[in-house]
Symmetry: C2
Subunit: 435 residues, 2 copies
């Protein structure tokens, strides 16, 4: 039993956005079993292992709703290009270094960066999913992933039938690898690169498995145009007619959705992973986060892969999402810091179908918890903890991280893996392969 003692703020992200001051939280096994005033809690659990969080802010772990962790090995490779230029450049590099070994090594590096920066859950799309998953789980991340689908051989050189075999076996693979609970996921690349009849097969399998689906959708205008040219329809329509949209998929990016599409997505319970850092860097455009919320779409936040956004910093994503919403709406009150923090926590959990397990600090939920050190010059004074989180705090303020009750970061150091070993394996793989 672990007692997180006397946090200056306990930002719960519960339905009332409750913030407790000078309060504590108790973890038993994988779960949060109590929270309340520091003194009361201390008296109630005299046997618990106490971690003193005086001068720290405690909040739910961040949920990165769209990323490609192994591509951390390709950080900084593609500069000054749009999505299509990026894909051309990166797919060539992937064919060279992103074998099963590179995938595993990159997943570990990406997962390590994630937990150190306060991300406890990531929805991840990449080749060689078992190697990816094993790498991320070893670091301690709650890692939602599954087989990726193209209707042609990708860098992983699989036939369609091989992809489907991998997918059918995925729940079994997940249970063999172990780690914090995650649902199985199926990750078709996008409606341009996966034929409608293949999307339909993925949808049928998802129902069978109870899997969640994530798919790139309308990231930029050429993607929409190319999809119409290839398949006669826009991406969202293809997802609709193939049954995918009925399965509440997480649509990655969703920058260029028209009104009819947005209303359809909302009606069917689809979600959007808003990735402003990647969208601006590739000049894909600016999704109108506030409009999507008004339409009734659940919107979480994502970093995308480090090959486009150059890091996995969800604090930077929160701040950019907040600023971008103000610019897009020409309104300084377009969105509150509280709403942004919810997007990066409980709304992401809702998008993953996991809002009953993670995304807030409530009794009975799994303990995915982070703490931030507040006694630093750039965090003084605090007027509102949500605004501090979004506009002043950063990844380096993260001190402790728990995933499913296990402490995976203690005083900024990972507990399950050695950072030097992971970084040198990454550099060795990149350099050895002469990238």
């Amino acid at each position: 039993m672990i007692l997180l003692h006397n946090a200056r703020y306990l930002v719960t992200c519960d339905p009332h956005d409750t913030v407790l001051e000078n309060s504590s939280l108790v973890i038993h096994d994988t779960k949060i079993i109590d929270l309340g005033p520091a003194k009361e809690i201390k008296n109630r659990y005299p046997q618990a292992q106490l971690i003193d969080l005086t001068d720290q802010l405690v909040m739910p772990g961040l949920i990165n709703l769209h990323t490609h962790l192994p591509m951390t090995l390709l950080r900084g490779v593609a500069e000054g290009v749009d999505l299509q230029g990026f894909l051309e450049l990166v797919w060539a590099e992937e064919a060279r270094i992103m074998d099963v070994e590179g995938t595993y090594i990159g997943a570990r590096l990406g997962a390590l960066e994630s937990i150190l920066s306060g991300t406890t859950t990531a929805l991840d799309m990449y080749f060689h999913p078992a190697h990816n998953h094993r790498g991320a789980v070893e670091v301690g991340l709650r890692h939602v992933t599954g087989p990726v689908f193209f209707s042609f051989p990708g860098p992983d050189n699989l036939t369609w039938d091989q992809r489907m075999d991998l997918a059918r076996a995925w729940p079994q693979t997940l249970s063999e690898i172990g780690g914090p609970y995650v649902p199985p996921a199926l990750t078709p690349h996008c409606p341009l690169t996966v034929k409608p009849e293949h999307l339909r097969q993925i949808g049928e399998l998802a129902i069978e498995q109870g899997a969640i689906i994530t798919v790139h959708t309308s990231e930029n205008i050429p993607e929409n145009d190319d999809t119409i040219a290839a398949h006669g329809e826009r991406p969202t329509h293809l997802l609709d007619v193939t049954g995918i949209l009925d399965l509440k998929p997480v649509l990655a990016h969703g920058v260029h959705l028209n009104e009819a599409e947005r209303l359809l997505i909302a009606a069917k319970g689809g979600c959007v992973a808003h990735c402003p850092g990647s969208n601006l860097k590739l000049a894909s455009g600016a999704a109108d986060l506030v409009q999507y919320r008004e339409d009734g779409i659940t919107v979480g936040l994502g970093s995308d892969g480090s090959s486009t956004s150059n890091d996995l910093d969800m604090f930077a994503v929160m701040r950019l999402a907040a600023n971008l919403a103000r610019l897009v709406r020409s309104d300084p009150a377009a969105i509150t810091s509280t709403q942004i923090v919810r997007s990066a926590t409980i709304d992401g959990a809702t998008a993953l179908g996991m809002a009953d397990r993670i995304g807030s600090l409530e009794v009975g939920k799994e303990a995915d918890v982070i703490s931030l050190a507040l006694n630093q010059p750039h965090l003084v004074p605090v007027h509102d903890p949500f605004t501090t989180i979004v506009y002043s705090a950063g990844r380096a303020d993260v001190r402790h991280v728990f995933v499913a009750g296990e402490q995976v970061v203690a005083n900024r150091m990972p507990t399950k893996v050695g950072p030097e070993e992971i970084m040198s394996a990454a550099l060795g793989h990149v350099q050895g392969q002469n990238l």
Copy 2:
């Protein structure tokens, strides 16, 4: 003599954007006296105090071209408001807590945050300039500031004549306070709040003193409209007819400048302090950095005060400026990372009229130098050091900071002041005054 030994990258920001690998830099007194390959330099200066920077990146200190350091005490006070709403709210708070004591305490907090995040020079506008300057200099910042001007009594309750007296004595005040070399500055608030005849007096005094001028200009559209309503002309025209524009002023923000204004500013050698974080947060708009550069305007970067941008993080400003330029131009190649780093270093120095002294790592320049620790998961691998600086690095990666040859940050800790004392004085002042 200090030898910064064996940096993995030495990013000089010299006219050729030279990057040296495995190289060293030698500081004697206030200046850089040599740089070159690590082994050669080590043999050449056997007596120097050696600081090992293996696995670090060394670059010029960042130049924050627009801020209000003492307003760090007001961090997070104004949320969900535009510029006019902000001013209303903040001026009331200022009248309550920003006395000379609050100014001094706030300046120390803001300067401490600045140096810890790699900023070595700031152009700062605030009341009670001697108290502000003394606070910032004690922390070790190169702090360019001077009297602020309104044509009416501000929170400091001075008459026009008192402001001019303060300004006439300013060079003497600077030399009494001491610290790293800075030119005197005169900081009229904006052409709306300072009458044309007063602007003219400021210009005349600036010529007499060799002072640099900074002034808020066209931050948002209501400011332009209000200026026309009050004085019959747009802000840039008022700066032109009063002679200010001939003095190559640093125009803070400059978000809403029309083409004629931009060309006039360029022709006269005026500069813009681009503050995208503050501009987006207040929904003031998005300045077109690339256009300004094409017009021939020198553009540096600023954080603005923590009362609007919520922190003084110039790494966040660089990244946002790079992303925003791509969005505004719908072009992923709108601006390179190299150009962004130059904006935050040598271009800022040019705007301050100090390009012969600071802004790059070259023999004969003053040693304003920072180092970043590269052996961290979010900075692996490095493909291009400029891209790493803009898109992956952050304030917390800063390890060592030198200003005019003096080490003001060593291993992330300030050397001249105690952070706990500064933070508790700040909290005490804010709370004691019942903000």
